[in-house]
């Protein structure tokens, strides 16, 4: 209530940028406060948390989830869901390593990206044209793509360290530019691209509107069947990038990689305030969500908490985040 009164006192002709900022902070208030609290709590629990090595460790740790969450964001924004992200990451990871054995690294990367994006297009086409629930389509893809990854590698991780592109891959996975890890730059670029896409382009606008009311978009003369393919293709593209970064980091393309990533990506998006109902949410919220989850993982590692309780905690956090966002949606 006090917020509303405060707003009323602001003179009418306020600076557009300033009011934009205000609206932004109001919308992102909960995730931002949670993030801040996490940082404070984490630095209290562990003195190591804010040390330079741990911070640089953290920004590398979040990379995979950050990149994948960008795609997941767009999918959830349009009212869908992509359960196959972990498996597509694995496919990308093993393909790029496999391709590197007999092609130049650049070609291997581009081919991997193209194949994965096609997988996404396939998902999208089934969702958009045949009107099958995204949950089912991507659940199928989750199993199918994981199978592909195992089959291609015969369940043995593929190493790229002996190939001609090893130098580049090593730089990509473990190199730095100044003090900044290359992998960190990669996800920063991905965030920037997604932000620009969603904020300034026609496609972004259509994505938001699709999530809000598909029928209204259709009646405005926009081909829904065409545009609904995009989020899934974009998500798979992000997964491809994530898989390549992961393989670059690990030195091998492993068919088991990306396991449980679906959960992490969905959790980050929802924690970041993106509505499951579709139509509302922002890139910056998702970035905050990824960091909240990343810090939780990081601090639990620092405290030597085993993996299983971590999983339990993560599950609980997702449910709480969804409850909070539902309450917020109701209030609107």
């Amino acid at each position: 209530m006090s917020e509303k009164v405060l707003q009323a006192d602001v003179p009418k002709r306020k600076n557009a940028a300033l009011s934009g900022m205000k609206v932004y902070f109001k919308e992102q208030a909960i995730p931002l406060i949670v993030l801040l609290m996490m940082v404070i709590i984490a630095s209290c629990i562990s003195p190591v948390f804010l040390s330079a090595p741990n911070v640089s460790n953290l920004v590398v740790q979040v990379a995979l989830n950050m990149v994948v969450a960008m795609g997941m964001f767009v999918v959830i924004l349009t009212g869908g869901i992509d359960l196959g992200v972990g498996s597509v990451v694995a496919v990308a990871g093993v393909l790029v390593a496999g391709f590197m054995r007999n092609m130049p690294v650049g070609v291997a990367i581009i081919a991997t990206m193209a194949i994965c994006t096609l997988i996404g297009c396939f998902n999208g086409l089934i969702v958009a044209r045949l009107r099958i629930a995204p949950f089912i389509v991507t659940l199928g893809m989750m199993s199918f793509a994981r199978g592909v990854a195992y089959w291609y590698t015969q369940a043995i991780p593929i190493s790229w360290t002996a190939t001609s592109g090893a130098d580049f891959m090593y730089w990509l996975g473990s190199g730095t530019i100044g003090p900044v890890p290359v992998i960190c730059l990669a996800w920063l670029l991905m965030i920037a691209a997604t932000f620009i896409f969603m904020r300034f382009t026609v496609i972004g606008r259509i994505m938001y509107s699709l999530g809000g009311n598909e029928e209204a978009v259709k009646l405005s003369g926009i081909s829904v069947a065409k545009w609904k393919v995009f989020p899934y293709a974009f998500s798979a593209f992000c997964c491809a990038l994530g898989g390549i970064l992961l393989t670059a980091r690990l030195g091998v393309g492993a068919p088991t990689s990306g396991d449980g990533l679906d959960m992490d990506a969905i959790a980050s998006v929802v924690i970041g305030g993106v509505s499951f109902a579709g139509g509302s949410g922002s890139v910056s919220g998702v970035v905050i969500g990824v960091f909240i989850l990343g810090i939780i993982n990081n601090i639990l590692d620092l405290m030597n908490v085993p993996n299983y309780p971590q999983l339990m905690l993560k599950g609980a956090i997702i449910v709480v985040a969804v409850i909070l966002s539902t309450i917020r949606d109701k209030k609107r």
């Binding site: 009164v5 707003q7 026609v202 938001y208 809000g212 009646l219 139509g279 609107r332």
Partner: protein, 495 residues
């Protein structure tokens, strides 16, 4: 007569908007009082405070002589205050009877089907609603669903009944049923608050008329002391000279749109011509196939036979995208379900209809977009904090204006407008009429579909009448002859 409800100095603010300013009013037991006012005058807000959906900032509510300070809908329900909503909230897959008693003890635990249907049938009979209690709600048309929504509320025997635009989706036939039902309620001594933009209804039904403007209660007058012109002046705070713009008898231009025997699952043999710079009206009852005809023309329903020609050439219509490509634009009837993305802003909604205007190379020109939509907002007098306000924060009439803004932004050659003034007040209505006339003068061809006969009579130079999925008549002259039009609309198939 003693008052059943007293409101004293009610205040409500939403952010910077002062929605209700010191509202005080007494409602007498057993009377029917109308609440009149423009869109955004605060009628719905006031009613939401009464039903507990909103909490007031200050002021008092006295019900049956006791001060009541409830903040929830449950208490209001218990007190006997009930509202029939504009949009029917029913479960489509349940039967009429189940819907009526949903949430009541009769539907808890083990359902006694026999009692349920008996009670439902008795209720429908008592109020003269000719609908079978055993059919599923999804098989009913919108108008009948609205009647069931009313019945659902009546089942609770409310002491104070709020009817907010109950006739908005009804055609004359169902309106008669509703009025009969209101007469039964009056006889029972139920107090009623009636909100409608159809002013004739207020005069016909209500004992007194309370008039609101800009969040204030202007005056409460006895029906007999008031005429329509005065009422409008009170509502707007100014005079409306003429409801409809002057018609010019231009010679019809070339044919821009022609339907040749268009047939779908719902309509049959639709043939007509729309000329350049013409407003062609389509009149018909709810369920006469008006909306289905539009769906066929706009590529939403598959054509079984026949063709649609634009500029003399048949076009392929697989989706609305095709229709838009050929210069059509549809402003649909269902504002919430089909026309607007409710959770997004005015700006985003308007731009949706024409990205070409705002974007270059896929990037939206922010400044250009803002300027354009700000101009439209001023021109159409859309009441909102800013163009960034989500559309669902606007009142119904202002939402409709956003639909109009969308259509203007699209700037089609052929505009199809299904119920252009649905849920809109008198002042805004005449504005929209003037606007349509201006668009017509600028060379746009407009197809107006309406369930209000006066609307098509006043606006159009020619009109088509639909019944049972067919065009049953075309009226070129003597448009004032309502009787002729009505007889075309109603005549039963056998007669």
């Amino acid at each position: 007569m003693k008052p059943i409800l007293e409101l004293k100095h009610i205040e409500k603010r939403f952010g910077a908007v002062h929605a209700l300013k010191d509202i005080s009013v007494e409602i007498r037991e057993g009377e029917m009082i109308a609440l009149a006012g423009e869109n955004g005058a605060g009628k719905s807000t006031l009613m939401k405070i009464l039903t507990g959906a909103y909490t007031k900032d200050s002021g008092e509510v006295w019900f049956q002589g006791e001060k009541r300070d409830y903040r929830d809908t449950v208490t209001a329900k218990k007190l006997g205050i009930a509202q029939v909503y504009q949009q029917a909230e029913l479960v489509p897959d349940l039967t009429v009877a189940e819907n009526i008693f949903l949430g009541e003890p009769l539907m808890n635990g083990v359902v006694h089907w026999k009692t349920l249907f008996e009670r439902a049938e008795a209720l429908l009979k008592e109020y003269g609603i000719p609908i079978d209690a055993r059919v599923k709600v999804k098989t009913l048309n919108v108008a009948n669903q609205q009647l069931i929504a009313v019945a659902k509320v009546l089942q609770r025997e409310p002491k104070l009944l709020i009817l907010d635009e109950p006739t908005a989706v009804l055609s004359d036939q169902e309106v008669t049923i509703l009025f009969h039902l209101i007469a039964v309620l009056k006889k029972k001594g139920t107090t009623m608050i009636y909100i409608s933009h159809r002013l004739e209804e207020l005069f016909r039904l209500c004992d007194r008329i309370a008039i609101m403007r800009d969040g204030s209660m202007i005056t409460v007058l006895d029906n007999v002391h008031l005429n329509k012109a005065d009422l409008i002046v009170h509502m707007l705070g100014r005079r409306v000279d003429a409801m409809f713009p002057e018609k010019s008898n231009d010679v019809l231009g070339e044919v821009v749109l022609e339907a040749k025997g268009v047939t779908t699952d719902k309509v049959e043999g639709i043939s007509f011509q729309l000329h350049k710079g013409e407003i062609l009206g389509v009149a018909g009852l709810v369920g006469s196939g008006r909306t289905e005809m539009v769906r066929a023309l706009y590529g939403l329903d598959k054509l079984k036979s026949g063709s649609v020609e634009i500029g003399g050439r048949p076009i392929r219509l697989r989706s609305p995208a095709d229709a838009v490509k050929h210069g059509m634009f549809l402003a649909p009837e269902d504002r919430k379900g089909e026309a607007l993305v409710l959770i997004r802003s005015i700006r985003e909604n308007v731009t949706l209809s024409n990205f070409g205007r705002m974007a270059k190379g896929g990037f939206i020109n922010d400044q250009h977009e803002r300027d354009y939509i700000e101009t439209l907002r001023t021109e159409l007098r859309i009441k909102a904090d800013t163009i960034e306000s989500p559309v669902n924060t606007l009142s119904g009439g202002n939402q409709q204006k956003v639909v109009v803004a969308k259509a203007i932004s699209a700037h089609p050659d052929i505009l199809i407008f299904d119920e252009p003034t649905q849920g809109i007040d008198v002042g805004a209505k005449s504005e929209i009429y003037a606007l349509l006339e201006n668009l017509r003068k600028a060379g746009m061809s407009i197809l107006v579909i309406s369930s209000e006969i006066e609307e098509v009579q006043g606006l159009c130079s020619r009109l088509l009448v639909m019944r049972g999925g067919r065009i049953v008549g075309e009226v070129n002259e003597n448009l004032e002859d309502s009787e002729h039009i009505l007889s075309l609309m109603y005549r039963s198939e056998t007669a």
